[in-house]
């Protein structure tokens, strides 16, 4: 269950769990969160909570609603967002997640949502998988963070500096300790994809002999369309060459490749459409 922590001048005044679908904030007493301060409008803002997502909406308040320093009309609340109302601060805390991994996998499955089922789903989510979704979001964030830093590592390599070791996923993601074990398996592929050495090909014959092409994209096509085309794919396991079109297939080290993707090793020589080129991994 997500909650808000109300504070003023760094003093925590109250913790408010977001149990209702609509939680209203304002100066008047009928609000769910009453803040008796003249800088706060009678009906200042509302937080709409749908399953595990909370949205903050300003209700046309006189002094406006500020989230993380910028005024908003409508805002999708993220963990640790700080909402400012006059001198008061409301910190939004998403849920910590001590959830079993089995539940998580189940919850990720496609489910149908009907208006009648919505309350039940919300209740079930709160009871069983409540933490799972937050953990999932954190896991996704961890993957993204890991992927981003892995890319940064690659960029470093391109610039010719020594590659830093792949960052630990737990360090890259601001995930609480409880979620860290769950985060560990997911970032692994991303790390592998980013941490793998960058491949490149150098043309050995033809008009552009000597020219080098770095294989940074997940897919790079080579050859002449309509005559012979092959694709080099960049995968976590390494680089592969696959025949795309043309009657003749490319050959690797003098051997014509089959229909299946062919794994490329450092210093393999590819021959395609009459042109020889060498595949190599950049250190």
């Amino acid at each position: 269950m997500a909650k808000l922590i109300l504070s003023m001048d760094g003093l925590v005044l109250k913790e408010i769990p977001l149990t209702k679908e609509r939680t209203t904030i304002g100066r008047k007493p009928h609000n769910d969160i009453q803040i008796d301060n003249l800088a706060v409008s009678g009906e200042h803002a509302v937080i709409v909570t749908i399953l595990n997502d909370s949205f903050l909406e300003d209700l046309g308040s006189t002094n406006g609603t500020v989230v993380n320093g910028s005024p908003i009309k409508k805002h999708f609340l993220q963990n640790n967002d700080v909402v400012e109302l006059g001198k008061y601060k409301l910190k939004f805390v998403g849920e910590a997640a001590p959830a079993a991994s089995g539940e998580k996998a189940d919850f990720e499955k496609t489910m149908v949502l009907r208006p009648s089922a919505m309350k039940a789903a919300a209740a079930a989510a709160g009871a069983a998988g409540g933490g799972a979704q937050a953990a999932l979001a954190q896991r996704q964030a961890a993957v993204q963070a890991a992927a981003a830093s892995a890319q940064a590592t690659l960029a470093d390599k391109d610039a010719g500096t020594k590659p830093a070791p792949a960052p630990a996923p737990a360090a890259a993601a601001p995930a609480p300790a409880a979620a860290a074990p769950a985060a560990a398996p997911a970032p692994a592929p991303a790390n592998r994809a980013g941490g793998q050495p960058l491949g490149a090909i150098q043309l050995l014959s033809g008009g552009n002999a000597g020219k080098e092409l770095e294989l940074t994209k997940p897919l790079t096509t080579l050859g002449k369309p309509g005559v012979q085309v092959a694709v080099l794919t960049r995968r976590p396991q390494g680089y592969f060459i696959t025949h795309v079109e043309g009657t003749k297939r490319p050959s690797v080290n003098g051997q014509e490749i089959g229909a299946a993707p062919h794994s490329l090793k450092d210093h393999d020589v590819i021959e395609l459409a009459g042109i020889k080129m060498e595949f190599f991994l950049k250190a």
Binding site: F55, A141, A193, P236, E245
Partner: protein, 274 residues
């Protein structure tokens, strides 16, 4: 009219890296220009039962009907082409079958499936869909999503509550608002689009578009468009390389040439006179 020589179709389906079985079902009837993709849901193996029923019912029923009638024939009663009604009726039939099975057999309780159906006829494409399985088009090297998901997330995007960027981070990607076999009746969303030779259409389950960015999917189709079978395999592989958390299914259809409905000049004149 046999469309086998007009449409090139490649399919690929895979359980992914995490799930033990594949709850997606795909079916293609190249001669009739029909492709169907369904992503089942429900406990144990009920998901695959639902998706399997959906594809089988729709393909067999459509084949039956198309052997007697042409989609571009005009209904005398309301002066509309029968294609949309034809597809809608088969979708409803599939809905009833799945719903009844789910009601009558406890092990299938609550099963359902998403659906996307594409029927090619008369230089056009009719798309019916339910849930978050999608149809994309690659035309003139531009890659675009055609269908709009029936999902909570899409509704939130539409109503401006969240932006598409925020949607990528949202945790409830898996909640669909419409599906086949959940309620006694359902209304599929049906649209018709003109096709052009060279178009490539992609039907996919959320196992692809959740794992692979649209940009990368588009790039794959652009670079590997020449070899459709390989492109389909490559897409599945990319989803699996990115984690493959769900079943992945892909249907690719390329329009090779024009395929106008075999309407004679006389028939056109006749229709016009009425």
């Amino acid at each position: 009219m046999d469309l086998t020589q007009t449409l090139e179709i490649a399919t690929c389906t895979d359980p992914g890296m995490v799930r033990s079985h594949n709850e997606d079902s795909i079916a293609a009837d190249p001669a009739n220009g029909l492709v169907v993709l369904a992503d089942g849901m429900g406990g144990y193996n009920a998901g695959e039962v639902a998706s399997g029923m959906a594809t089988t019912v729709i393909v067999t029923e459509m084949r039956q009907i198309l052997s007697n009638a042409k989609p571009y024939e005009v209904d005398q009663k309301n002066n509309q082409e029968i294609a949309a009604r034809m597809v809608r009726e088969q979708v409803l039939k599939a809905n009833t079958s799945i719903y009844q099975a789910a009601q009558s057999q406890p092990q299938y309780a609550g099963m359902g499936t998403t659906l996307v159906v594409a029927l090619f006829y008369d230089n056009r494409l009719l798309v019916a869909h339910l849930g978050d399985s999608r149809l994309y088009i690659l035309r003139d090297n531009k890659f675009k999503q055609v269908t709009r998901d029936h999902s909570l997330l899409q509704e939130q995007i539409d109503s401006g509550i969240i932006t598409p960027e925020q949607a990528k981070k949202a945790a409830h990607k898996n909640l669909v608002t419409k599906a086949l076999g959940i309620d006694p009746t359902v209304e599929p969303e049906i649209h018709e689009y003109p096709t052009k030779p060279g178009d490539i259409y992609l039907l996919c389950s959320d196992g692809l578009c959740d794992m692979v960015d649209d940009e990368d999917i588009g790039m794959t189709l652009q670079t590997l468009g020449a070899n459709l079978k390989l492109a389909a395999q490559q897409l599945v592989q990319m989803a699996n390389d990115n984690g493959g958390r769900d079943n992945v299914s892909v249907i690719l259809v390329r329009v090779l040439r024009e395929y106008p409905g075999a309407k004679g000049v006389m028939a056109k004149m006749f229709a016009w006179l009425k």
